[in-house]
């Protein structure tokens, strides 16, 4: 060994110190290549396809609910055939309404807002952005998708059991969710399927988030230091850490709930309860324990849904503003702060739950403090636009829309974070408007931005920009027409989770409910433009170049779509951060992270 010998080229990998075996070529056979694939790109697309099926299902459920709220006595053609004993003559019963609501919430939160921005995009893009050939554990990766699919099928199966899906909401508060059939229709087998589905989902997410963490830390290509990681990878990495902790609390909680239901335990059910005139055989449990465990997961879950959106916007906005993101390290710091704080605020869902009222004030303070990093990030996005040369592609527009709806949703959070105001607004449509803006619409806009941005890389074809812009404009107006009036309803004291408003003071809200319903049907119909664009472009869209947006990060340094091993056997070597926009480069006003003349060794 002489001192002058060049060091061997060894890529960093989970098996530190050992050279990774060459990536196997794409396996032969349709099934192994497209269905049971180990390729993170295929798995990412599978997640997104599943999320698309889920979001369409969830949207149809919301249409049915909105129709019933606006016209409580009207018959819906076909509903009688779908659920004969729950919609006599096509008129929805209260229990059908509640089960649709439960399924809407569960499908949207778990199988859309977690599956698409985190598991879907994370899977497809993260390994490309760190310059890896695949995830750290491809088999776990495939398993996590198939377990997620199984969880979805188990949940949907609840529609087909005799008493239908559960009616206890996506939060499944005990004892309603824990005592079985006596609590109401759907609380038998339907609720058991729900618990099993969520437990399976937890397993899948635990596998997935471990994989993301290992891939980000150990599979980075040469030169890709942590501070050179794109914002989106940082967001998925932080989200993975949050998800790892959150789902490892929800999983045992679900198992305890299942035991209460089927094994006669009493974790969440106290003694002396009389339900349907029957004294229940439980004793000694605590309903508040379920609420604590659920929201210890549930609040971080909000950030699992929205932080990938933060990453996507922080990643996409500079590419279209043609200038660097303002304060990239501050954005990362804020995301870490939000992730950390998300574990200290779960009690704000429980101000009025009967827990010690002193703790309400304690949970309120970190909830309010979380608005500080959120405000900083929002200001940095807006500041990034200043003095830019903004290219208004559909992806860029959805980023702008994201900022707008996130600000709106954040403002209403300011009200609900204060226990004294929550005393009035809790359980009203104000809350529904709030979380739909900040978690539903904002996260959806992040997903849309991601789809319009990465579609060319995923399928090698461009989406139609004219249809895209039409989709954006109508959706933006639509979501404001749906969710802004919900704040007014809530202010007037309109209670949520009611299947009809027929009593004195709520009857006056009916015209506004009708307006919301029309807006919801309209906005839903607009999504057909998106769907048509997806299908048409996938089949006949213009061929996508390798780097259609003139972006800097590694996913654009390979072909569209990338080869099976991502970089065709030539792993990129990274020379700089992802933020080199507005500078003179070899091919325009940007320099790629792995510019060939600088990066190739």
């Amino acid at each position: 060994m002489s001192d002058t010998a060049p060091p061997p080229v060894v890529r960093r990998h989970a098996l530190q110190g050992r050279v990774r075996p060459p990536h196997p070529a794409a396996p032969p056979g349709f099934l192994r290549r497209h269905v049971f694939s180990l390729d993170h790109k295929v798995i990412g697309r599978q997640y997104l396809d599943l999320a698309l099926v889920a979001v369409l299902t969830g949207m149809v459920l919301s249409w049915l609910m909105r129709f019933h709220l606006a016209y409580p006595e009207a018959a819906l053609p076909g509903l009688g055939a779908l659920a004969p004993n729950r919609a006599p003559n096509g008129v929805m019963t209260p229990e059908l309404y509640l089960s649709l609501m439960t399924m809407h919430g569960t499908i949207m939160v778990f199988f859309v807002l977690t599956t698409a921005p985190f598991a879907g995009f994370g899977n497809f893009v993260l390994p490309l952005q760190v310059g890896a050939e695949d995830m750290a554990f491809p088999r776990f990766n495939m398993m996590s998708f198939w377990v997620t699919l199984a969880a979805f099928l188990v949940l949907v199966a609840a529609f087909f059991v005799p008493e239908g899906p559960p009616l206890s909401g996506w939060t499944a508060y005990a004892p309603l969710s824990a005592i079985g059939k006596d609590a109401g229709p759907g609380q038998g087998l339907g609720q058991t399927l729900w618990v099993c589905s969520i437990a399976l989902f937890c397993v899948a997410q635990l596998l997935g988030s471990l994989n993301f963490i290992a891939t980000t830390l150990d599979c980075r290509t040469r030169g890709m230091s942590l501070m050179r990681l794109p914002q989106s990878t940082w967001a998925w990495f932080i989200t993975s850490v949050i998800a790892l902790i959150a789902f490892s609390v929800l999983l045992p909680a679900c198992i305890l709930l299942l035991l209460d239901r089927v094994a006669g335990t009493s974790f969440f059910v106290p003694g002396g309860l009389v339900v349907s005139d029957r004294l229940q055989p439980h004793t000694g449990g605590s309903p508040l324990l379920w609420q604590h465990l659920f929201w210890f997961f549930g609040h971080p879950e909000v950030y699992i849904a929205i932080l990938p959106g933060f990453g996507i916007v922080s990643h996409i906005l500079p590419a279209f503003a043609r200038k660097p993101l303002l304060g990239p390290r501050v954005v990362i710091g804020c995301m870490v702060a939000i992730g950390f704080l998300s574990y200290t605020v779960w009690g704000h869902h429980m101000f009025l739950s009967g827990m010690n009222p002193v703790s309400a004030t304690l949970f309120s303070v970190p909830t309010l403090i979380i608005t500080i990093p959120a405000t900083i990030v929002t200001l940095l996005w807006i500041g990034t636009l200043y003095g830019s040369r903004l290219r208004l592609t559909t992806a860029a527009l959805f980023c702008l829309g994201f900022v707008s709806v996130f600000v709106t949703g954040g403002m209403s959070g300011f009200f609900l974070a204060q226990p004294s105001i929550d005393t009035y607004l809790h359980g009203t449509y104000f809350v529904v408007g709030h979380f739909h803006f900040v978690m539903g619409v904002a996260a959806m806009f992040g997903i849309f931005a991601g789809v319009y941005f990465w579609f060319p890389k995923m399928y090698g074809r461009m989406l139609d920009e004219r249809l895209g812009k039409l989709h954006f404009v109508l959706t933006l107006v639509g979501v404001y027409c749906i969710f802004m009036p919900m704040h007014y309803l809530g202010l007037a004291g309109n209670v949520r989770r009611y299947s009809a408003f027929t009593d004195d003071y709520m009857k006056g809200s009916l015209p506004l409910h009708r307006f919301i319903t029309i807006a919801a049907l309209f906005t839903g119909a607009v999504q057909l433009v998106f769907l048509a664009n997806l299908i048409r472009s996938r089949l006949r869209g213009a061929k996508a170049p390798d780097n259609p947006w003139e972006a800097t990060t590694l996913e654009w340094a390979t072909s569209s779509p990338p080869p099976a091993d991502n970089f065709g056997g030539h792993p990129p070597v990274v020379a700089r951060g992802p933020n080199e926009y507005g500078v003179p480069g070899p091919t325009g006003d940007f320099v790629m992270q792995a510019a060939p003349e600088l990066g190739e060794v």
Partner: protein, 266 residues
């Protein structure tokens, strides 16, 4: 496209803010002694959040209008001062707002939930069940009978599972389907649930509290006006949740005394 986006966002912002300011939809008139603090807190937060909302949305709109579609001829410019003023602004301004709202809000919250009820408060027992409320007043003996879940029976009207045969305190308990209270006198409710979680919500009182099976939760208020209002359930409790409500009737003291007398089982 930048201009269209700017116009849309500005319109959405101004119209939605206008509707808030016009108070077309607003809490119903307050009928309790504690509501005024909550209303003030709500208005203060509305102003603070409203200013930030309008400022952020309009800045976004202006930037989209101004910088959207700019050609390469325009030089790229960095926000004056970079990220530091953003961080400073958020920490100082939002931090200050949080501190002020927390200080005032905590006092409002404490007055409702951390202050013991007045000693002369009228105690009323409230039981929630799928899908109704039951109210119980102690009779002339001033004592409530013990609750026995195994004796609860809807058919015979023994909602609370009382045992008058063996329990003398239970014999004169007054059971009511409406919550009748005298105006101006502090009321102490003790909330307990028979089956699943429920909630007690009277928007006019600005008061809300969950019922938790297994817990007995105190809640106090003083009504300031003779009126009849609705109590609604806000905690999802099953298929009849939308229909779970009762009336709160605030009576002048003399009429309340008369009502109590009429209800006494003799």
């Amino acid at each position: 496209m930048g201009k269209l986006f700017a116009v849309l966002v500005a319109l959405i912002t101004l119209v939605s803010t206008g509707i808030f300011v016009a108070r077309i939809w607003w809490p119903p008139p307050d009928i309790s002694t504690l509501g005024i603090g909550i209303d003030r807190q709500l208005t203060e937060t509305m102003v603070a959040a409203g200013v930030l909302f309008v400022a952020a949305q309009l800045t976004l709109a202006v930037f989209a209008w101004r910088y959207g579609g700019r050609s390469a001829a325009h030089p790229i410019r960095v926000f004056p001062g970079g990220a530091a003023p953003m961080v400073g602004f958020a920490v100082v301004l939002v931090g200050l707002e949080i501190a002020v709202l927390t200080l005032i809000g905590t006092r409002v919250w404490s007055r409702i939930f951390l202050t013991p009820p007045a000693p002369n408060a009228l105690a009323i027992d409230v039981q929630a069940e799928q899908f109704a409320y039951c109210f119980r007043y102690p009779g002339p003996d001033g004592k409530l009978g013990a609750v026995h879940p195994e004796l609860m029976d809807e058919g015979s009207g023994n909602f609370f599972g009382l045992d008058p045969a063996n329990d003398t305190a239970a014999r004169d308990d007054i059971i009511s389907a409406t919550l009748e209270v005298p105006v101006g006198r502090p009321i102490l409710l003790t909330l307990h649930a028979k089956d699943v979680g429920h909630s007690f919500y009277v928007p006019d009182l600005r008061l809300q509290q969950d019922f938790v099976p297994g817990l007995t939760i105190p809640l106090h208020f003083t009504a300031t006006r003779a009126t009849k209002r609705e109590i609604v359930c806000t905690q999802l409790c099953g298929l009849g949740h939308y229909n779970m409500r009762a009336y709160l009737e605030v009576l002048p003291p003399d009429r309340f005394a008369q009502w109590l007398k009429e209800q006494s089982p003799e």
